[in-house]
Symmetry: C2
Subunit: 413 residues, 2 copies
């Protein structure tokens, strides 16, 4: 098996130095990293050219090629994003709680860096810079493992970032990139106990599953979203149509897009024909249950459709007899990401909010808002779909842990 112990040791040594860096030093490092990216534009574009050429020769599709491709403008945007992270508030050192015990011990709960964060991601080379920026801002050392498609781009970007760190007097090893892109290297990273404090896999369901199966370090699962919109009997029909069209079709390839529409039977006759017209106009293929097909013409849907995150212009539709049937359906198929109800009835809305187990629950809004930017976090490292530590959009605060600092005068038990 690939041995990453040396890499882990370097990361630990770097994070101990980072822990002593103040906010201004970290911000200066972010600005130097951005400047270095701009200064190395030519090298990065040359490396990216090799990746794009190889991908094209492999017959990679245009949309993936577009995600992989860098331009001078794109590098400039990535650098500007790093500079923007420098302007965000620093969560490290924040006192979350403070109390004094009857014996005089003064206890503070203080936000501290997580330590070493590992991130495994797929195609897009901009993640290399984005993830490094969020980790440095929170005084975490980061070990990055990108996809093989972008390896030359990622190496060139990481080299530039490391040069920037050194310019600012911080250790280059605060950002390390795995040159190995094979599965053995990924598995070794997932099992680097004692060195990796948190592993975040960013990618498709296969990557998440592989991580959860193999990791022995703490993991935050991200990004799988089988999201539902439930149209209650008391829904505003126009609002319902707008929301489902937006949630399904505005950008179907993302995790907060809706995959299944649930409709109360009392509103189905009025709602479904209007919704179907608007959805089909937006290019969405509809797959309906038996009752749905009494109101609109569409493909029959299967059990499998309800369980599928289509990430495409496809929508499963089911008519339900009441809100509890909707809740049971969501509970069965949900990936705990984002769920929404459309209703004018406050009591029904509150019942739905209380009974849905998901990172984000919406009343009368599109699930597409589950996003660090839309929540106002200023930055996002991913969207957690588990319940431990962080749920939903993860910003800077979610990359920190805490520590109790206790000041005494000789207390013993």
């Amino acid at each position: 098996m690939t041995d990453l112990t040396e890499l882990g040791k370097k990361a630990k040594a770097a994070c101990r130095i980072l822990a002593g860096a103040d906010t201004e030093t970290k911000n200066e490092a972010l600005r130097q990293m951005a400047a270095s990216l701009r200064a190395h534009t030519a090298e990065i574009l040359a490396a990216n050219g090799r990746d794009v050429k190889a991908a094209r020769e492999k017959g990679t599709g245009e949309s993936l090629l577009d995600r992989l491709s860098l331009t001078e403008d794109r590098i400039s945007v990535i650098a500007a994003d790093m500079e923007r992270v420098a302007t965000l508030p620093d969560p490290v050192g924040e006192v979350m709680d403070r109390f004094t015990r009857p014996n005089g011990l003064a206890i503070e709960q203080v936000r501290v860096p997580m330590g070493v964060i590992a991130i495994i991601y797929e195609s897009r080379p901009n993640v290399t810079a984005d993830a490094a920026a969020l980790c440095i801002k929170t005084a975490n050392a980061v070990i990055l493992k990108g996809g093989s498609d972008a390896i030359f781009s990622n190496i060139a970007i990481a080299d530039a970032l490391r040069a920037g760190l050194e310019q600012a007097g911080l250790p280059a090893d605060a950002v390390q990139l795995l040159a190995d892109t094979d599965r053995a290297a990924a598995t070794a990273l997932m099992r680097l106990r004692g060195y990796v404090d948190l592993l975040i896999p960013r990618g498709g369901a296969a990557l998440i599953k592989n991580t959860v199966e193999n990791a022995t370090v703490p993991v935050i699962e991200t990004g799988t979203g089988n999201c539902h919109i439930y149209i209650d009997k008391d829904a505003d029909i126009d609002m319902g149509v707008n929301i489902i069209v937006n949630a399904k079709a505005q950008r179907p390839g993302v995790c907060n897009a809706a995959e299944t529409l649930l409709v109360h039977e009392k509103i189905a006759a009025d709602f479904l024909p209007r919704a179907a017209e608007a959805l089909q106009k937006a290019g969405v293929e509809l797959r309906g249950c038996e009752i749905t097909r009494q109101y609109i013409a569409c493909t029959p849907c299967t059990e499998m459709d309800f369980a599928t995150e289509f990430l495409d212009y496809i929508l499963a539709i089911r008519v339900v007899s009441d809100i509890d049937t909707a809740l049971a359906h969501i509970s069965q198929y949900s990936t705990l990401h984002s769920e929404a109800i459309v209703t004018e009835n406050n009591e029904t809305a509150e019942y739905f909010l209380r009974h849905i187990d998901a990172a984000a629950v919406y009343v009368n809004a599109s699930t597409r808002f589950t996003d660090g930017g839309e929540f106002g976090f200023g930055a996002e490292i991913g969207i957690s779909t588990q319940k431990l530590h962080a749920r939903g959009p993860m910003g800077l605060r979610e990359l920190t842990s805490y520590q109790y600092r206790i000041r005494g005068t000789g207390q013993i038990r």
Copy 2:
């Protein structure tokens, strides 16, 4: 492999009902569970008698037999503890944050139950009741797996608790105990994805290691504590002696007891003979580095001693040339549990606080205070030694997750 899917389904169904229960219903359930424990004292004592008899026949030592044995008084204390949990504040439903976005979306971050919590523990049967109480208070369903030594006691206690839940109108399946105590059952529980939201192993290093290696559900590691006391050159010597004697010898078998003493070389000649006298009087065997042995007579210590959580009347001692050497030593051997400095110098104290990566860092106090009760949490499910989600003593709040609840008026992207 043991199939726990049915058990998982029952737990999920129960936690959906618990999620709808208000604070008073949960508190009433705790009181009914306590009453049921008292009412079933005879059955529990009979079952416990079987366990104790079997353990004695196996040649189990007296201290373990004592941990296993129940009496009418002990059952009454366990019941009173459950009633006390009913009086603690309920974290579920607490609004942690609230903000409105420019588009009018009102976002609330609300504490919610974790869902289904699995707990794997070793001998003591009181954990069955304690853990169930904390989970019910936080509206979590719990799956318990105790040790084989206490199986009859645990079954009798769980039966009583389930009867109490039903008395209060809550589902008995909110508390389930695995009748299988073999390793296959434990492994199946560690891999019950989709049903277990959090697994807490409570026990020795072997159990923690086995859990981390095998679990595919989210885990919080608990309880391993290789804790250090560092006596700075500016320490108050009397205070230092008191603290190390307390941290080592007041109760050496617990995770927050100290295992290694580090002493600044400038104070070693004054401090070590005084400390050695007091420690040896308390029955502690000393194992010192070469420099230590210039000041006091003791066994030579090895590299291995520094890495060992003795949980016994044994202390490793090393003289260091400065605080950075102490920090490097701690960083190498620490299990991130609790670390302490004794110093009258504020600047040195703050430097230590900032550079120690541990759940709890002390200035001038014993590490023995890392405990939910001592922190004023009113209850404790364990002490986390990882950095994800919860760190240090875990009370009720640490058994919850959060959810974003977003109220809109038809917003789309």
